[in-house]
Symmetry: C2
Subunit: 322 residues, 2 copies
């Protein structure tokens, strides 16, 4: 069970039910799949997407069994994309544990990701409306498109802030926004409340990804539970660097980024200059801007415990250290 | 468009429509996805799964737009599994052209497969009943499980015929049987006709996979359009070898299969002994047995042009050379 949302009133119990559904949905007759996935889901993910779905569903009246299953499907879909991401990035660690690919090899990792994705779609087929299932499939295809684009643009240091925002929207924010919308839809809330929740989810997702990208530069490795600088070293250009490059009047950062041989690149030098040029601070301001937009949307929601919960969560996500 | 089913009366036009749906469903804003997938689908797959769905739908009255879309979704799902298979097998060629992974690299190939799978689920969400969507997702998870099992058992030469049948059922036959069942379901045929079609599809799929595995030993490379012996060289043990090992009273084949170093293994020697021991013939007998079972089921169907078509197709698949 996650520890991130655990101390939010009432969330702990529901998320435990989501975890139960996940654990029973990933059972397979194959021991490798069982080992890989029980380990993955034992390792305390933040469970934000299911959390948002459940909070959104509290704005109306939802059938618990359905929301719990759909929340599980979202987390499984997210985890499937992580397994495949880790293949692409050659990541050794995720949530403080060896990644599926480093433990079972790339070949099995491809298939275990596919298995998990198909089990997620299986739940969706059983519990979601066709419209929601369609939205979910659409978002998976957008996530893939953005990841391919990111892969193509490795070590392209001239990315604009706008290109970055477009990427993180596809990679992260759309799924956050869908989580809120599915929860709202299941609870039969009014169209305007559902749209407000969707926009809140979108802005929370944008802020979340920016903070994630900041943590890759300035996080505490023991809290983040993966090596720092991994994005940069695999050529993924994120907001702290993009912001720092805009302030690099001396051209020194640009020079460091003119990488001819990845094995001789001065990544530590780049990270230090990003910090010195205020790239972290500037990215933080953007995260704050999206958080504020999310809070503005949240304030439009009917006053309730759930609204307070969503507000607390949104604020907490901004100042998180992992 | 496929040339395999093209000369079956009436199939050509419908399959062209399926191809159109596929081509419009794979369009993405990303040039790599577009290039990779248009190339893949330009390369004349056999279109058997869509073909079976369409033939099955002719046993009742089906809405054309729906069956065409579901047929497209099946072919896309199948192609997605091929892209990921080729990553796992390090295959250089598929349908006579470089595989997605050899052209775009393993990383993009993972994502392009995911993209295609999600687009397939997108069509399913829009056009299939929840029950069918669920079945499809279930089959994807079974295909993955079987592929992982196959991966685990590379170079395990003591596979039994029963284990082999179980594997090809999961890898291939279930999707063939679902293709028939979805077509039947869409056409509102009686439960008994639908079940007969499902069983026919299952047996056609079993025979199909056995023939595929035989062609890896004894096919004509220019017709099969991929290098021969690729299964064996990547350690996948199929029926011709399993059958030959059962006839290997001298123990010479077993000895050749005692591979200590894959780079010094005598694969050509194994292939020749499989042929000399009658492994191909014996596997062929199994294929004929499944074909006969399929034909028995087909004979139970109401007499019609569609039944004749299915019979012809089943016979043709047994004697195919590619």
């Amino acid at each position: 069970m996650t520890d991130f949302l655990a101390d939010f009133t009432g969330m702990s119990e529901s998320l435990a039910k989501v975890s139960d559904v996940i654990h029973s949905s990933i059972v397979s007759q194959n021991p490798i799949i069982n080992d890989a996935l029980s380990l993955l889901f034992a390792s305390n993910g933040k469970m934000l997407r299911p959390g948002l779905l459940l909070i959104a569903s509290q704005f109306g009246s939802a059938e618990e069994d359905k929301t719990i299953h759909l929340a599980a499907a979202l987390e499984m879909l997210h985890a499937a994309t992580l397994i495949h991401d880790d293949i692409i990035d050659d990541s050794p660690l995720r949530r403080g544990l060896p990644t599926v690919q480093s433990r079972y090899g790339k070949k099995d990792a491809v298939l275990i990701g596919d298995f998990l994705l198909s089990r997620s779609f299986l739940i969706t087929a059983e519990y979601a409306s066709p419209e929601q299932a369609l939205q979910l499939a659409k978002i998976v295809s957008i996530i893939c498109t953005m990841e391919i684009e990111q892969n193509t643009n490795r070590f392209c240091f001239d990315r604009s802030i706008r290109q970055y925002f477009r990427k993180i929207m596809g990679k992260t924010a759309l799924l956050f926004s869908l989580a809120c919308h599915v929860g709202a839809h299941e609870a039969n809330v009014s169209r305007s409340v559902a749209e407000t929740l969707r926009r809140a989810g979108y802005n929370i997702g944008m802020a979340f990804q920016i903070i994630d990208d900041i943590l890759d530069y300035s996080g505490d490795e023991t809290l983040v539970r993966k090596p720092l600088g991994i994005d940069l070293k695999s050529g993924i250009i994120t907001l702290p660097l993009i912001s720092a490059l805009r302030k690099d009047t001396s051209g020194k950062l640009s020079e460091l980024c003119n990488i001819k041989n990845i094995h001789h690149a001065d990544f530590d030098g780049i990270i230090n200059m990003v910090k010195n040029l205020g790239g972290i601070e500037s990215a933080g301001n953007h995260a704050r801007k999206f958080t504020n937009r999310a809070l503005q949307e949240i304030m439009k929601l009917p006053s309730s415990n759930s609204r307070d919960l969503l507000e607390q969560l949104t604020n907490r996500l901004l100042v998180r250290s992992y």
